[in-house]
Symmetry: C2
Subunit: 157 residues, 2 copies
Amino acid sequence: MSDRGRLANHAWEGLLSAHARLMKQFAEADTWQDLSMREYDVLYTLSKYREPLRIGELHRHVLLSQPALSRMVDRLAERGLLERCPDPADGRGVRLSLTAAGRDKQRSIGRGHAAHVARAVTAELSRDELEQLAVIAWKLAGRAGTTTDDDQKEPQQ
Amino acid sequence: MSDRGRLANHAWEGLLSAHARLMKQFAEADTWQDLSMREYDVLYTLSKYREPLRIGELHRHVLLSQPALSRMVDRLAERGLLERCPDPADGRGVRLSLTAAGRDKQRSIGRGHAAHVARAVTAELSRDELEQLAVIAWKLAGRAGTTTDDDQKEPQQ
DNA sequence: TTGCCCTTCATGCAAACGCATAGACTTGGC
DNA sequence: GCCAAGTCTATGCGTTTGCATGAAGGGCAA
């Protein structure tokens, strides 16, 4: 393998390792109320987009199989945290949107979690590194060029 | 929240997003033979460390609950891919090591996967960015300062 | 309109997961 | 040496996941 390829693998392994370490750290925190992190992820994703999201769209953002996501949406809807409406423009589709309760819960969890993220990440990185990481990670995410606050209002994560 | 905190959250969300996107891309690839990515991750981690690993040690590297990991080790041992020996120095512990078959399988999968990683990551990032990402990610992983090839021989991921 | 194929989401079912906890062993104080 | 507390791994059990597939609607050609 080329030198560049080796470097890429090293960087990717670092990213994986960072992801695992921080996810564990966040998971242990007492901020999730009665949600799992995956459930919170769904609520957070819905909160980022103003308009109702299709399940397929949601699926593009969440690391979960489509059937698993479909059932998770079931459970969240049953708990009154989100609403599924038939899509008027496409009879197959379903439009998902947060209920008021869902939005409140996302916000109250998000506040604590965002603080934890800020603490954990700023503890290890300088401002320059934070900026570099943001640019690089969003490039890898396929949405290069997004700036700090272009995802609607405050990062509520 | 402080500006630095917001930046940290933005960077973290980018990292999450990059992780999700690339994991999906890698998962779809036809490189995993009869293993799941999580099972491969276990074999890969074992391959990185020369000496047998304790389950607890392995657990620190893998994003999986301890009971789930324990059972996954069961299955991998049953399939002849790794071996569990009682730890002579600690009667509670178990020492895990790859069998020849396990090592072979890890290598044959690893070759294809590493190539895929190299392609996907180098496609998006310049050499400088690769180097920055490696430094930053390994800082976040809590093992700052590791260089390209200090994890024994080739990155076989 | 009809027929065919594609897309979107849901469901059946076996496998795998997380939580709580048990069992086995180690460690340290008395 | 012995007991209490702590650590390490395994097991019971209900829940969630992924894979394969089904059901329902959309899109387009004939």
